[in-house]
């Protein structure tokens, strides 16, 4: 089904569901509705998918052990999302790093709080969580600073690929009938009692149902379309430092701090790509676009990392980045139905969206059918295989006909790049190419491959890497 080019006007078609936003939630939503047999269109204002809140996170697949209590939307969606990811990941060729996590207590006061966190975890269904003593912690994580007092072990916390997963969800949606229009902002719309008429940057569309998956702009779209919003987005910036692959062997599992009322705190975490991540910060701000990094904050993250893992000071920084979480004034997710207007808003998916997205989609679809909507689910649907860009697993550079390696640090081949540029849901920006292939994301940050990329991407990006000399 169509991935409409980024410039043409769209045909005036009646859809069952229009999903606004192609972040991780929008991608999972499109998949669910498409597999259930609905006629789906995803609108994205950027030139590429995953260009807002979903572009930067810690890539952890959470069990929900520390989520709000059962019955909350967040807990329900994380548990369902987690389980569905485990069920489907291998069929989509998506990776899973089964590393587990530990909540580390660095003093007696923190150690005293582990009991409550464990009880909450058990209440949330994560019954394998258990408290271990200093000796046991250090036996599992010998590189930890020896001042660690105790830990809560949470075996089910895993790490995944934060971009290939939503990409695969959307790809499966498209291969099973959904459509995608990027570079297509939703400008306004009206509901006549049975259908929405939607004005987009590329023409008028009609849809029976509208689902707002706008992330950082969720409240604004609510205001625009239904004149009200039950929440206000309060962007919360999280900065991260990515350490060199040489640091990966310093840890086995995800290392979490004992959380405070305000924040879950700074995590030391392996990445699926073989790096080590330290972050995020939690900085409230007004801007919905400014995801800049700050030297002092990065330095503080490095020092925090060094205090947890003293040997980390011997390892180089590969990358730094920041993401914006669409937090609100509320603690729980803001999934709200306006049945009289065939409108659903999925808002406030602040930091657990990667884990919960599949669960959110199932949750929204249940509510959709509860409201009396029916489709004939696809009897047999296609499972696309996405490129495996994370170790372990067969990588393209190991296979014949790969065209040679272009990005040497991340071992990205010419064939992988050409698939990302010309294949399904082709990327239209360097950022998009990075998310699909990891080019320039390694140690040298483009020292070696920028020139080759400027040539390979010639004419493909509205914002080119380089323009030809006169």
């Amino acid at each position: 089904m169509p991935d409409y080019s980024t410039s043409d006007s769209l045909p005036d078609t009646l859809y069952d569901v229009v999903i606004v936003g192609s972040g991780v939630v929008g991608c999972a939503m499109a998949r669910r509705f498409a597999l259930e047999g609905a006629k789906v269109l995803v609108l994205e204002k950027a030139v590429d998918i995953l260009d807002g809140a979903s572009k930067a996170n810690s890539a952890i697949l959470h069990t929900g052990f520390d989520a709000p209590a059962p019955g909350s939307q967040e807990h329900t969606c994380i548990v369902d999302g987690y389980n569905e990811y485990l069920e489907i990941h291998s069929r989509l060729n998506l990776p899973l790093l089964e590393c587990g996590a530990m909540v580390l207590a660095w003093n007696e006061a923190e150690a005293g709080r582990l009991e409550q966190i464990m009880q909450d975890a058990h209440r949330n269904g994560v019954t394998a969580a258990r408290i271990i003593n200093t000796r046991q912690v250090l036996a599992k994580e010998p590189k930890l600073a020896s001042s660690v007092v105790a830990a809560l072990e949470v075996p089910g916390e895993f790490v995944i690929d934060p971009w290939s997963a939503p990409y695969a969800y959307l790809l499966q949606a498209l291969e099973n009938g959904a459509s995608l229009a990027r570079n297509c902002e939703l400008l306004g719309g009206s509901f006549d009692g049975s259908e929405w008429t939607l004005e987009t940057a590329r023409g008028t569309l009609r849809s029976r149902q509208l689902i707002n998956c706008c992330g950082l702009y969720g409240d604004l779209l609510n205001q625009k379309l239904i004149g009200q919003s039950e929440f206000e987005i309060r962007p919360r910036k999280g900065q991260f430092v990515v350490f060199d692959k040489s640091a990966r062997s310093l840890v086995q599992s995800i290392l979490l701090p004992v959380p405070t009322e305000v924040t879950k705190g700074i995590v030391v975490c392996p990445t699926i790509f073989g790096n080590l991540l330290v972050g995020p910060t939690a900085e409230e701000q007004h801007s919905r676009v400014d995801a800049g990094v700050d030297s002092a904050q990065l330095q503080a993250l490095i020092e925090r990392g060094n205090s947890i893992l003293p040997a980390l000071s011997q390892h180089a920084v590969t990358a730094t980045y920041a993401g914006l979480r669409p937090a609100t004034e509320h603690k729980d997710y803001q999934i709200q139905w306006y049945p009289e207007r065939n409108y659903c808003c999925v808002g406030g998916i602040r930091s657990t969206g990667l884990s919960s997205a599949l669960g959110i989609a199932a949750f929204v679809y249940r509510q959709y059918t509860d409201a009396g909507n029916r489709h004939a689910p696809l009897a047999d649907y296609h499972w696309p295989q996405v490129n495996r860009i994370a170790d372990p697993g067969a990588r393209d550079w190991q296979q014949p006909g790969n065209g040679g390696i272009v990005c040497h640090c991340e071992l990205v081949t010419r064939r992988e790049i050409s698939q990302a540029l010309d294949g399904q849901i082709a990327c239209h920006s360097l950022a998009g190419l990075k998310r699909r292939t990891r080019v320039t994301m390694g140690r040298c940050q483009g020292f070696y491959c920028s020139a080759e990329l400027s040539e390979l991407t010639q004419g493909k990006f509205p914002q080119p890497i380089g323009i030809p000399c006169k």
Partner: protein, 413 residues
């Protein structure tokens, strides 16, 4: 997996790697393979469109790209095989390499392996620079390969961060294609490369801002400005469309990290003895991997010497040492030094060996000395500058053989 064999495998076809290949082939070693992951051999010089290169090697002034071609031709004329488009992904014990080419993964087994992977500049991220992350932020290497190899411009009015030799190379590259840098910025009060070089930016209409730090990068899609701060703390916003991070070279030691070879935390390269042998003596290393950053000519000369050691090693003349004497140093002024250990007894006397190559992390005057049990073996008064090599000759093999512990000490004047 298909496994190939050769006598000597050289990883990296830059000036040092090609010098090793030429010299070994000339000495009659057959079956030499030089592997390079790029499409063309030559290393960094191949994307330096400007001169001067080649005075030492070819006795004439060449552009970097012409120099690179000549180095390759020379190695091939002597009989070495230059295999481009081959990325070594893993190095292992017993001379076993894993590589990736268009044909997929394969193995290569060699008697001796020389690692000549060179160095690269420190990118923006590792410098922890504040601000947004738009298009238009590059290193000099990325700029030069884009301009000279692909004839593309990433921007028109960038700022250049740094005043090393390579920073001026960036300036010339810009001039060559009509890019007009707005400013050259260095947080130091002096020009790192050479005082007289300050004339060049002035002639080209580029502001030279010393004592000035880059505070923040701005722009969403592309760079639109940077905020800088001068010594007095005054902030200024410069409109520009790119940032060139030049210099601050680090060893390209990706292959060595995570391998069985010992790494030197100071230099970022492998630990080597005076013959360039790594902790696994089937492996040698030479060039800027050991000492970021030196000129192509220096690396080439080191390659020539290393070839003789490799050959002696193949011929059984350079054998396993009886003992290794590690060189310690507790001096905080010393950024790194190489070699880090001395193999004893000295099996080959090499009068051309430059001795210890030392880098300091700031401007210093003082006395550098190599000591045995706190007694000077050799020493000299020096004036050190960052990114400039200081050489300290090694004492004779006999004197070294009598040593119990070696330390490199610096006493500021």
């Amino acid at each position: 997996m298909k496994v190939n064999n050769c006598q000597v495998a050289i990883i990296g076809a830059g000036p040092s790697g090609l010098a090793v290949a030429s010299e070994l082939a000339k000495a009659g070693v057959d079956d030499i393979v030089v592997l390079d992951r790029e499409a063309n051999a030559g290393g960094i010089p191949r994307h330096c469109g400007h001169s001067p290169f080649g005075l030492r090697e070819f006795h004439r002034i060449l552009s970097g790209s012409e120099y690179a071609r000549r180095l390759q031709r020379q190695a091939e004329d002597y009989g070495a095989r230059v295999w481009t488009g081959a990325t070594v992904t893993e190095i292992g014990a017993n001379g076993k390499l894993t590589l990736s080419t268009d044909a997929g993964m394969q193995g290569l087994s060699a008697e001796k392996i020389v690692i000549c992977t060179g160095n690269r500049e420190t990118p923006r991220s590792a410098r922890l620079v504040s601000g947004s992350r738009p298009l238009g932020i590059v290193t000099t290497g990325a700029l030069q390969s884009m301009v000279y190899l692909k004839h593309r411009l990433p921007f028109k009015r960038p700022v250049i961060i740094g005043t090393e030799l390579v920073s001026f190379s960036a300036l010339l590259t810009c001039r060559h294609v009509g890019i007009k840098p707005v400013a050259m910025i260095d947080s130091n009060p002096w020009v790192t490369f050479w005082k007289a070089a300050t004339l060049l930016p002035r002639l080209l209409g580029t502001r030279l801002l010393l004592n000035t730090s880059l505070e923040e990068i701005h722009g969403q899609e592309r760079v639109d400005s940077v905020t800088i701060r001068n010594a007095a703390g005054k902030m200024e916003t410069l409109a520009c469309d790119g940032v060139i991070f030049s210099g601050n070279f680090v060893a390209e030691s990706s292959l060595i990290r995570g391998s069985h070879l010992e790494l030197d935390a100071r230099s970022g390269g492998p630990i080597v003895d005076q013959y360039g042998r790594c902790s696994d003596m089937d492996y040698f290393a030479c060039g800027n991997l050991l000492h970021p950053v030196d000129t192509a000519g220096w690396c080439w000369a080191e390659g020539m010497r290393t070839a003789a050691y490799v050959n002696a090693s193949l011929g059984g003349e350079l054998t396993q040492p009886d003992r290794m004497l590690e060189i310690e140093s507790s001096s905080p002024s010393i950024k790194y030094f190489t070699p880090q250990r001395i193999a004893l007894p000295e099996r080959l006397a090499d009068r051309k060996h430059p001795g210890l190559q030392i880098r300091f992390n700031d401007n210093f005057r003082g006395r550098i000395s190599l000591q045995n049990d706190s007694v000077d073996l050799i020493g000299c008064n020096i004036r050190a500058r960052p990114e400039c090599r200081v050489l300290l000759p090694l004492p004779s093999g006999d004197r070294l053989s009598a040593c119990r512990s070696l330390s490199l000490e610096f006493l500021p004047a």
